[in-house]
């Protein structure tokens, strides 16, 4: 006989597992610190590439001025200035990443908790029947 409640619960659990659940399980496989750390590392790499591309574009944009002032510029000062700007950018972006992924990790865990609750209920239904 078809157990209606069980079928409903099973389809819900399966729907979650096939869609959002996949990501959530992958997320919760990490420890919180590892997950956020990994995402921050990725972020730093991405923002570094983006900043590099942006800076290359900037240099190309001001190519003439650059070439003119090539002998007059204090390159060490210039490098310091660039480095501070880069650091501010990276730290700011990493902070945003931290917030976003800390939230996502918490959400994934909450969803999974619900999912495991559902599994337990399903298990109980089978036991009842047996």
């Amino acid at each position: 006989m078809i157990h209606e409640e069980r079928v409903i619960l099973m389809s819900r659990l399966q729907a979650y597992e096939d869609n959002e659940g996949k990501k959530d399980i992958a997320t919760a496989n990490y420890f919180r610190g590892d997950y956020i750390g990994l995402q921050m590392l990725k972020s730093v790499i991405y923002i570094t590439i983006a900043a590099g591309i942006f800076y290359a574009g900037y240099v190309f944009y001001n190519l003439e001025d650059f070439l003119k002032s090539i002998y007059e510029t204090d390159w060490i000062e210039y490098a310091k200035l660039l480095l501070t700007r880069y650091l501010v950018l990276v730290i700011g972006y990493a902070l945003i990443t931290y917030m976003v992924y800390a939230y996502r990790y918490a959400k994934a865990q909450k969803n999974l908790k619900k999912y495991y609750g559902g599994l337990k209920a399903l298990n109980a239904m089978y036991h009842e029947e047996a």
């Binding site: 990725k42 972020s43 923002i47 591309i53 574009g57 190309f60 944009y61 972006y93």
Partner: protein, 315 residues
């Protein structure tokens, strides 16, 4: 209204049953529309300006993830720009790379907004995108909407200044690069539109989340009006070029489309809303429960008047 609701239910069942075929079909049509628009708007590279290439690319997109359409569209734009001049392609490439690396790493689902917005600009109804983004997504989509505006104005600036670009000397690469970047970044209209659209997303989102009756409809109307006002005022204050009639007409059409979206996604029966209050040890709960409008399709029963004739046995 009942007829419409019935039609909606029928549509829902139809989509539910045929999702397997409708999804690729939808993607195919979206990709096709996007590529055709890009080709007709820019179309500098002869080789990819043919229908066969567009069809092949759209077919490919139909069974790949949605974001592949966006990657393909970006590639089309960059190739067209490359045919015009290397510097334009460089500007487009830098812009797309930075968008992808900085923003779409967080919210890859929002990328579709960046595709839809320029398409709606082409159809003269860009105002519908921020309103719908506010209805269906989160306020963070304001960033994606702003990115879409930048992409559109970049492409449209290049498309509108082909003669100016070709007048510049070919050897002066940096000069041409500067010409393109200056042209589209110092565009006041773009800034006004960006601000107006981003604000609209946030306003629509905030209002539709309010616990008031007809919040979605109010959100659409308020968002559309706010958008029109900000666009017109901003254009006046910043001396930007906009077409007043275009904004008003486009906004009205957009509000109409947003209403259709509301009808499809959200139907509440406010006449049967219930406000309940209860408490437990720690909290008071003020709950407002609004039932959805649900209609069941009338079952068709076929009544046979003539009893079916039985096959005569041949002896």
């Amino acid at each position: 209204m009942t007829q419409l609701l019935l039609a909606k239910e029928t549509l829902k069942t139809f989509v539910g049953r045929n999702e397997v075929y409708l999804k690729p079909l939808g993607k195919f049509l979206l990709a096709l529309a996007a590529f055709v628009m890009i080709n007709s708007y820019t179309g500098y590279m002869e080789r990819i300006n043919s229908m066969s290439i567009v069809l092949v690319a759209a077919l490919m997109c139909s069974f790949l993830p949605l974001n592949f359409i966006i990657i393909c569209s970006a590639a089309f734009i960059i190739l067209h720009m490359y045919a015009l001049s290397m510097e334009c392609a460089l500007v487009a490439l830098i812009l797309f790379l930075i968008l992808a690396l900085v923003y779409f790493r967080f919210a890859p689902k929002d990328a579709v907004v960046v595709l839809l917005l320029p398409m709606c600009f082409y159809l003269k109804i860009p105002y519908v995108v921020p309103v719908c983004a506010g209805l269906l997504a989160t306020p963070v989509s304001a960033v994606a909407v702003a990115c879409g505006v930048v992409v559109y104005y970049m492409v449209s600036y290049v498309a509108g200044n082909v003669s100016g670009l070709s007048a510049l000397e070919a050897e002066d690469m940096s000069g041409r690069f500067r010409y393109v970047v200056d042209g589209f970044l110092k565009n006041k209209t773009m800034v006004v539109v960006m601000i107006a659209f981003a604000l609209t997303v946030i306003i629509v989102y905030l209002i539709r989340r309010l616990s008031i009756d007809h919040s979605w409809t109010i959100a659409i109307i308020a968002g559309t009006i706010a958008q029109m006002v900000v666009l017109l005022l901003g254009a006046l204050l910043m001396d930007a070029e906009v077409s007043t009639i275009g904004i008003i007409l486009g906004s009205l059409v957009s509000a109409g489309i947003a209403m259709v979206v509301e009808f499809l996604m959200f139907q509440m029966d406010y006449s049967r809303a219930e406000n309940v209050q209860f408490e437990d040890d720690e909290y008071y709960y003020y709950v407002k429960a609004v039932p959805k409008v649900i209609l069941s399709r009338p079952e068709k029963t076929v009544k046979k008047i003539n009893a079916q004739r039985k096959k005569k046995k041949s002896h």
